[in-house]
């Protein structure tokens, strides 16, 4: 299928995917140093999904993300430096260091938050979609979730609810084959997430999540459907994660060569360069690579240098007003 997008669009998409990749690969290194606290789930390998989805969205569209949210945040336009500062727990972070990796949110960008509770984004996305429906302005809400999230009652209820209230919600399910250490083929009865979604009465598509263009085209079709007020839909994207579930996961449950093989065969950046060979110059893409690496360097340096929050901040931002 011929490529429809303009050169600018393509370069932008590549830049986004590359930024996510380098953000995560760098975090993977920095976490080893022990400077970054807590629980970090890296998105490397799934970039084509976040970007293929969000390239269709503008700031008025709303997304709800997951524990593995860095890619969604970057793709939706969150400031990369403020994200890095948040992950470092700095006062300059997007959430003043109060949220951390699992709770990065940026309402101004239509990013309603990463979420530490698997599946919790489903109901929230239905609400975001409902608000769009009430405003009748063609906005949509996207609920990102993993293969593990479709076993959580909240997501299943949300799919049914979205159909009942006819909310313009797209459930984007990133099937990377695992929920933590447990295989999707074991945990997902029927092993067919798109089919499970269809059974709630919505349109559903399954596509290759390591191919930016497959994601982009699938979303184009679903977004037309949702923006036209024809109700919610689901996209199941087959993808993979290049790292463990969280940093420190020995991954004994994965075949020895699986990650290596996937890095070769399912690398969305490689695929993208091949697919666009005729259209984009390698030089242009290489230049982007350099920009991105510089950006990530700056982000880390600035985050490191930034001040931490003060102890007084512990009790602020709990309420808008309280007594």
């Amino acid at each position: 299928m011929a490529i429809q997008q303009s050169e600018d669009q393509l370069l932008r998409a590549y830049r986004q995917m590359k930024t996510i990749r380098e953000f995560e690969e760098r975090l993977h290194k920095e976490i080893m140093t022990g400077e970054i606290a807590g629980f970090t789930h890296l998105y490397s390998g799934q970039e084509a999904v976040a970007v293929g989805v969000c390239e269709h969205l503008d700031e008025k569209d709303l997304i709800v993300s997951t524990h593995r949210g860095h890619g969604h945040c970057i793709a939706k336009g969150c400031d990369v430096k403020a994200m890095m500062a948040e992950i470092y727990g700095r006062a300059t972070g997007l959430c003043k260091g109060k949220g951390g990796s699992m709770h990065i949110a940026d309402f101004d960008k239509g990013m309603l938050g990463a979420n530490g509770i698997v599946g919790a984004g489903g109901p929230l996305a239905v609400g975001a979609g409902l608000s769009a429906k009430l405003d009748g302005d063609g906005r949509v809400a996207v609920s990102f979730g993993g293969d593990g999230s479709v076993n959580q009652g909240a997501v299943l209820e949300a799919m049914n609810m979205a159909v009942v209230v006819k909310a313009p919600v797209i459930f984007v399910i990133e099937n990377n084959g695992y929920s933590e250490h447990t295989g999707a083929d074991y945990a997902v009865g029927s092993r067919d997430i798109a089919g499970r979604s269809e059974a709630f009465g919505m349109k559903a598509i399954k596509a290759d999540g390591s191919d930016y263009f497959a994601v982009y085209d699938a979303m184009a079709e679903l977004l037309d459907h949702a923006r036209a007020g024809r109700g919610p839909c689901t996209a199941e994207f087959m993808t993979t994660r290049f790292f463990g579930h969280f940093e420190g996961d020995p991954q004994k449950y994965r075949a020895k060569d699986e990650v290596k093989r996937h890095r070769e065969e399912m690398d969305c950046l490689k695929n993208f360069r091949e697919r666009t060979a005729g259209v984009l110059s390698a030089a242009a893409l290489d230049a982007i690579d350099d920009d991105v690496l510089a950006l990530i360097d700056e982000a880390v340096d600035e985050a490191r240098a930034a001040p931490g929050p003060g102890a007084d901040d512990v009790v602020t931002d709990v309420y808008a007003t309280y007594q």
Binding site: K98, G99, A105, L112, A120, L124, T316, Y319, A320
Partner: protein
């Protein structure tokens, strides 16, 4: 002032706020009176308790949303819409079912402002009919507000009369923070004077319903009614009682309680929940910590027993803290030397 029921006072608040602010919508099971029936016409009864009656014909089904039986998603949908600029008012048919919606209530709605460093608010209202007294047994009679009160980020409201029901619900809908609003099932039919139109009751301001120098009685929700019942006999016997209706357990009007105990030196807290980690314990410990120097007698906690709510009439009557238990507790502390 017109005399109307607690139910109608709540209904009036919903009508007024939905008319005032078109961001407000309600959702829940049967809130419209039942969608998708074979009669075609919906009765707009407003669910089994009738609190949302008449909203459907006036505001339409986009803003009066019947839902499937999906409590966690009812709250989550209302919370998500409220993050996105709306004012969701979710109804959970029985407070007991908060147990199904607790993730969206305590991990989502309650924490967004904090987790986002103050950048995201979630002004959702979760209405929960609660309480025992109608022989609905262990899974349809719990009070549940001790759970909501324990969660930072939530505000918790328990109106004890029609006027407060209206004034507090209007304040809840206008509040920028998530509110869990507890309506006692056994009080829907109670009547009282309620101001027409704009009538707001602020959070964190207790009402002093009776003044006396001997004992401070703190109560909330239906327990206020029982405390009032107990008053007559006490006053008759010359026991002076400060009766404080705290109205909201979170925020708590600490000053009202401390000021009264400073005067009386004796505290009785009445709470429909079982005793452990209850609001009664919360207030008792607060006074033992912040008002200790004023205390002249043991703190008396009048609560339900540490047991589920039983079905049979006689059992439930014995279970729910009532006027007799309050009367006895007040006399005990008043007599303490």
């Amino acid at each position: 002032m017109p005399v109307i029921t607690y139910r109608d006072a709540l209904n009036e608040a919903l009508h007024e706020e939905m008319a005032r602010d078109d961001r407000v919508f309600v959702c829940g099971e049967d809130v419209s009176g039942g969608a998708g029936g074979t009669s075609g016409e919906r009765e707009a009864s407003g669910g089994i308790f009738g609190v949302t009656a008449g909203l459907l014909p006036r505001f339409g089904e986009d803003r009066v949303i019947d839902t499937p039986i999906s409590e966690n998603t009812i709250v989550g949908m209302a919370a998500g819409a409220s993050l996105a600029g709306k004012r969701g008012v979710a109804e959970i048919m029985f407070a007991d079912f908060l147990s199904l919606a607790l993730d969206q209530t305590m991990n989502q709605a309650a924490k967004f402002r904090y987790m986002s460093g103050g950048k995201m608010g979630c002004p959702v209202v979760i209405r929960v009919p609660y309480g025992a007294g109608m022989n609905m047994a262990a899974q349809h009679s719990q009070a549940m507000y001790q759970i909501a009160t324990s969660v930072p980020g939530l505000k918790v409201v328990l109106p004890s009369n029609p006027a407060d029901a209206k004034g507090l619900l209007k304040s809840a809908i206008r509040d920028e923070d998530p509110v869990v609003f507890f309506e006692h099932k056994a009080m829907y039919g109670r009547k009282g004077e309620v101001a027409e139109g704009e009538h707001l009751v602020p959070f964190g301001q207790a009402a002093l319903l009776n003044e006396g120098d001997d004992v401070t009685v703190v109560a909330m929700g239906r327990m206020v009614v029982f405390a009032q019942k107990a008053l007559a006999g006490l006053v008759e016997d010359g026991v002076g009682v400060d009766l404080i209706d705290i109205r909201t357990t979170s925020p708590l009007d600490e000053d009202a309680i401390l000021d009264s105990v400073e005067k009386t030196g004796r505290l009785v807290v009445v709470d429909e929940c079982p005793p452990r980690c209850s609001v009664a314990a919360d207030i008792g410990a607060f006074v033992a910590s912040q008002g200790f120097s004023s205390l002249k007698a043991p703190v008396e906690l009048v609560t339900a027993p540490h047991a589920p709510v039983p079905f049979a009439k006689d059992l439930e009557r014995a279970y729910v803290p009532g006027p007799a238990a309050i009367d006895a507790a007040v006399r005990r502390v008043a007599a303490y030397r």
